[in-house]
């Protein structure tokens, strides 16, 4: 359905075809509005900016999101982070996958965002984890099923507390390094401080920007991680002959991409029309209208992904110019800045596994299957009822031991 509908909130145009969605994402006349309800943590952050303001900040931050940086994370830093995070759960014989996913990705997101953990203790990480989960709640307030005003107030307080405990010391350390002319870590916070004068960012914007990178890096990858394991466990139940394929990172990466296609982190994209827009298909978007990009439908567009588009098929072939993960990472100016870090580079024919970037989610899934992950028959997974988004609330799995 693409015809405008008039609601209490104004005119809404819902896009369900892949072509319309891609064109909408690339239109400069359609500005981001997915996080309008989540302003407590999302106001003035990169993904919410438009026009010159967005371009200037993205130019600065993109310097940190380069493939050579991703290679260092994927090859040098993250395998050890995953192994250390996983080890106690393997020894214990199991874990809640939802918790593990967020803990793993928090470790990564803290590094990329620039949030120091000087104590290096499990308690300190647990406190940062609690803040991150609160920020996630703030960013997804639009889909909350609870008391949104109370949740927004709790998020605002969490930002203040997190700033005092984690952000302010992280800023102080980087400022001291800058003043001493010493090398800064390659993270978002250091990048912002190095370009502080150029961007003119007040402290409260730096606070939200770093919080955003913490929550976005942690949450989107964590949900993709849990869902990929879920899809793969399903597939191996019906195709046990494919069990050996989980040792192939190219296969695992295709599973991640297929999972992300079927389960975008946000089920919709949303834009607001700054001017009338006419899409090539003839869809008319009036000025001021809200454009809802139904990613669930767009990524199941049978004209692009075939008649079995709704099925999980890691061997699916996609047409030239179409990413195997559909539009889950968006497109256009707001295309996910961490896409290659999380999901790797799309493999072309004859990709060299030694030089290829598989993405951090792929690496984490691979290590989990190497640890013998399987569902806990005594405790089935359950959905998260606190949000309308289709998240898993708990997903107990067994590790190690008898398989």
């Amino acid at each position: 359905m693409s015809a405008p509908t008039v609601t209490e909130g104004g005119t809404v145009v819902t896009l369900t075809s892949f072509a319309d969605a891609k064109e909408a994402y690339r239109s400069a006349e359609l500005r981001q509005s997915l996080y309008d309800e989540g302003e407590v943590v999302m106001a003035d952050v990169l993904v919410n900016l438009h026009g010159r303001e967005h371009r200037d900040r993205r130019r600065v931050e993109n310097r940190m999101f380069r493939r050579e940086v991703f290679e260092r994370y994927e090859r040098e830093l993250f395998p050890g982070v995953v192994a250390r995070t996983l080890q106690p759960y393997v020894e214990r014989g199991g874990v809640d996958l939802v918790h593990l996913g967020h803990e793993l990705m928090l470790n990564l997101a803290a590094l990329t965002a620039g949030v120091d953990r000087p104590e290096g203790t499990a308690e300190e990480t647990a406190r940062l984890y609690a803040y991150m989960m609160r920020f996630i709640q703030g960013a997804t307030l639009a889909h909350s099923t609870g008391d949104r005003a109370a949740e927004a107030a709790a998020v605002a307080q969490a930002l203040e507390d997190w700033d005092a405990e984690f952000l302010a010391p992280s800023i102080a350390r980087r400022r001291a390094l800058l003043a001493a002319g010493e090398e800064l870590p390659r993270d978002v916070l250091a990048t912002l401080l190095r370009h502080e004068d150029e961007l003119g960012l007040p402290h409260h914007v730096i606070r939200r920007e770093v919080a955003f990178f913490l929550l976005a890096g942690g949450h989107t990858s964590a949900t993709a991680f849990v869902r990929t394991v879920d899809h793969l466990l399903d597939r191996l139940e019906t195709r046990p002959d494919e069990r050996a394929r989980v040792a192939d990172p190219l296969f695992l990466q295709r599973c991640v991409h297929e999972t992300v296609r079927l389960n975008p982190s946000s089920p919709v994209g949303r834009r607001r029309a700054l001017a009338p827009v006419r899409l090539r298909s003839g869809v008319e978007i009036p000025e001021g209208a809200t454009v809802v990009i139904d990613l669930h439908a767009v990524n199941r567009d049978v004209t692009v992904f075939g008649p079995d588009a709704a099925e999980f098929d890691p061997d699916r072939a996609v047409p030239p110019g179409v990413a195997p993960f559909g539009l889950s990472f968006a497109a256009g100016m707001h295309v996910c800045i961490g896409q290659d870090l999380a999901a790797g580079v799309v493999a072309r024919g004859g990709a060299d596994p030694d030089a290829h970037l598989f993405g951090l989610v792929t690496g984490a899934v691979g290590q989990l299957f190497a640890a013998g992950v399987r569902r806990d028959p005594a405790t089935p997974p359950r959905r998260d009822t606190a949000t309308a988004r289709p998240y898993w609330g708990t997903y107990p799995v067994l590790l190690g031991g008898d398989r």
Partner: protein, 75 residues
């Protein structure tokens, strides 16, 4: 038809996708804005279209080499 590819520096957001995908054709300038590698050949038509389609900001422009008209890479 023969195409020519250029970068609109006012639109480029320094995503680096063209530099990573086609280092033989694109590089960063001193301000980390993408620019064609001096002296590099023009890419084959299909590659030009692929690179322009992949550019997140739409800064990579494709023109008809004969007429100079901009090509609609999604058309």
């Amino acid at each position: 038809m023969s195409y020519r590819v250029s970068v609109d520096p006012e639109v480029c957001i320094s995503s680096g996708r063209c530099v990573a995908d086609a280092p033989d054709l694109f590089r960063f300038d001193a301000d980390e804005i993408a620019e064609p590698v001096p002296g590099a050949p023009q890419p084959a038509d299909e590659r030009a279209l692929d690179l322009a389609r992949a550019c997140p900001s739409g800064a990579l422009l494709v023109h008809d080499a004969d007429t100079g008209e901009e090509v609609d890479v999604f058309g």
